[in-house]
Amino acid sequence: MRFVQNFPFFSIILSMFAGIVSSVLPSRAAKWVNTVLIVTVGILSVVLLAYLTGTGEPFVYWMGHFPAPWGNEIRAGVLEAGMALFFCVIMLLSMAGGRKKLIGEVEYSKHSLYYIMVDLLLSSLLALVYTNDLFTAYVFVEINTISACGLIMIRQNGRTIEAAVRYMIMSLLGSGLFLMGLCTLYDLTGHLLMSNIRESVVQLMEQGAYAVPLTVTIGLISAGLAIKSALYPFHTWLPDAYGYSTVSSAAMLSSLVSKGYIFLLIKIIYRVIGFEVFARSRIIDVLFVFGVLGMIFGSVSAIRENDIRRMIAFSSVAQIGYIYMGIGLGTQIGMTASIFHILSHAATKSLLFIAAIGLTDVSRGSRRFIDLTGAGYRHRMAGVAFTVGSLSMVGVPMFSGFVSKLLFAEASVGHVYKMLPAVVALAVSTILNAIYFMKTVIRIYVPERRMDREIITVRKEPVYAAVLVCFILLNIALGMLSQPVVEWIGSGLDMFG
């Protein structure tokens, strides 16, 4: 066994260990531990990705002295390694971009607790990405849920506590459904390891046995993870949780936490249920319908919103709808589009959240549109970044959002029943996106006569500006160099099989 194959295990255990160590460190040290951790895990993932691209073969890794169905096991392919790297990049940028707000909004004595939450969130995301065992996935889903709650309520005011309670209730309902699905699956197959369940499911399908419980299981698992990732009718926890929490939390919740669950669902579809079985079940149509509804209604809610942070939050509902619509198409190319949109939305949404903070800072902290007039002149960097994010969300060429919309449109063409609703929903949703994002961009570039507001230049906040530049570059890179990314996703999905 090559040494580099230890890296997934190192990444997970390092982030858990960092969380444990942070509990006794002062907050300054905890901050450095957190930064060093994210960078280290990122570097490990780069090396792993390079190694896996070279060999082209996924590998499994025993967690202990016992082989797979008896002991725990993790597994790494190119898609997993790339996702881990991407999560690290987004997390690093979100933490750096929101650091100033964190100091302003969170009690000093609770900063080290915040870093514990972030470290363990990273560990749970990595474990969800790398795990090859359904029960391990469940354990880390729990860690993910609790740390997300902590991220929401670290800024302690009435709205965030309420949002955290709401998130907790919805999220635990999701966990419960997921756990029930997992139990049924164990009862039917006698395994918790993904590859073994897959073999048993194939056998069951050949014999035609247990068709009803298998369908119910697929339904329970999909519904559970859909609730946790805020698919349209289950999105009620989202606007408050993203809108009022401190900005790095909002960025990480929207771009990492919900994406971790979606990635787990994709992994379950490919590696546990089997893509064909899933595509033949009716559950996939339900996901498709809710995805399409989410694309429209999420955008409608965003248009009606008068608070910039909540507007961005509602836009997330629409974008999650896109991802589920792609999964619901039930084709390989639809799945590729969904995974690309996971990346593109994560890169764009965290950019928007962090840029919006700059805009509200120069408007006396107000988040209402009327007060944001001319904010783009007062904080030029944030204005440019917000515009880039908006253009990307609307789907203007050169930015990442365009590529994902193109991929979705390509994927839906050729599908017998779902082509028309998917294409219509894409068109309508794009127009709605344009309405609310362009409205905001125009608003922040309307000249303002009153010049008594604070002006923030790049020199005043160099780290913040650097973070925004990184995000913009990431966005443009995803938009311009989409071909290698799409090929990488394709080869990663092949490795799942």
Partner: protein, 328 residues
């Protein structure tokens, strides 16, 4: 008749009160906020409710309220129905031919003793075969305590921080101070309840010793870190209830909690990392399994059980203390 001069008769004839000076005695409060204020609050509450759920003038709300209830009922019944139908299709429980009776439990049962050295197969499963999941579970407890700390912990140095000019988000006036929380803690409970103290003095050592036994024998008999830790935690909470924070703070403060949790989780993390690393790279770990059945046997299971037990006990006690007065 000569009056017998012992404590019982003195108490019987009303000469002394044995409880005097040992129990805090005070008249029961009728209204926690005074007579008038409670009524006012109640009326406020009533008007607030009527305004918020104003069904008469807000037709939409009234309609939504009805729809919401009906829909909730419908969805719950539908979910129950689906799950019941699902269960009826599952393999019947207890059949030998069930899919769950495959090679996985067979190996656990047949060679669990040789491979892990633990007589208790369940402990062998959770702390050796699937130790990674268990490490995740202990981290769930750890992060749950951290979340409760975020929510409930009061900062004892808040005023000092304000003076030093370190930014605080919530002003000290808006938050309960530690002293207030301490006062509130004793609002509805008498101090030094003799009956409770006597019973606790007798029970707590027994409970804690039993908890330690359950942890140490986790690999030999039913039990283990989680159950033993819960027993010790319950004993500590009973002790706290009987004797108050002044006594428990002598041996258990926030610092103790922090370092005990840190030490046990770090030990677990390092030791298991070594074990995972050697296992995955097919190296010998060199940890002796010992004779099955002896107390010092089964390799790493015993120390890991102790770690898990310490984490669970501390977590339970910390939850109780935090919810009670926002600190230890």
């Amino acid at each position: 008749m000569k009056r017998k001069n012992n404590a019982f008769f003195r108490w019987f004839y009303g000469e002394t009160d044995t409880m005097l000076g040992k129990v805090e005695i005070r008249p029961q409060r009728k209204e926690p906020f005074g007579e008038g204020k409670a009524g006012e609050l109640l009326a406020d509450h009533q008007t607030l409710r009527e305004r918020i759920y104003d069904g008469k003038d807000n037709g939409k709300l009234w309609f939504f309220d009805r729809i919401y209830r009906v829909a909730a009922l419908f969805f719950c019944l539908a979910l129950i129905f689906i799950l019941l139908v699902n269960v009826s299709w599952l393999p019947p429980s207890g059949e030998a031919s069930n899919p769950a009776n495959n090679e996985v439990p067979a190996r656990y049962i047949e060679s669990g003793l040789q491979e892990t050295g633990a007589v208790n197969i369940v402990t062998g499963m959770i702390l050796d075969y699937r130790a990674f999941d268990t490490f995740g579970e202990s981290n769930v407890l750890f992060i749950a305590t951290a979340a409760v700390l975020i929510l409930m912990r009061l900062d004892p140095e808040k005023k000092a921080r304000v003076r030093k000019g370190i930014p605080v988000y919530k002003k000290p006036e808006d938050e309960l101070t530690v002293a207030q929380a301490q006062a509130n803690d004793r609002l509805y409970e008498p101090k030094n309840d003799v009956i409770l103290q006597r019973v606790a003095g007798f029970l707590v050592p027994v409970i804690v010793i039993f908890g330690i036994y359950v942890i140490l024998n986790g690999h030999l008999s039913p039990g283990g870190g989680f159950s033993g830790g819960a027993i010790i935690g319950a004993g500590l909470i009973l002790y706290l209830n009987a004797f108050g924070f002044e006594k428990t703070e002598r041996f258990f403060t926030e610092k103790t909690y922090k370092w005990v949790c840190f030490a046990s989780l770090t030990f677990y993390c390092l030791v298991k990392s070594y074990s995972f690393f050697t296992g995955a790279n097919h190296l010998e770990s060199g940890i002796p399994l010992g004779t099955p059945g002896a107390i010092l046997s089964s390799g790493l299971i015993l120390p890991l059980n102790i770690c898990v037990g310490l984490v669970v006990a501390c977590t339970m006690y910390a939850f109780y203390a935090l919810f009670r007065k926002g600190g230890f």
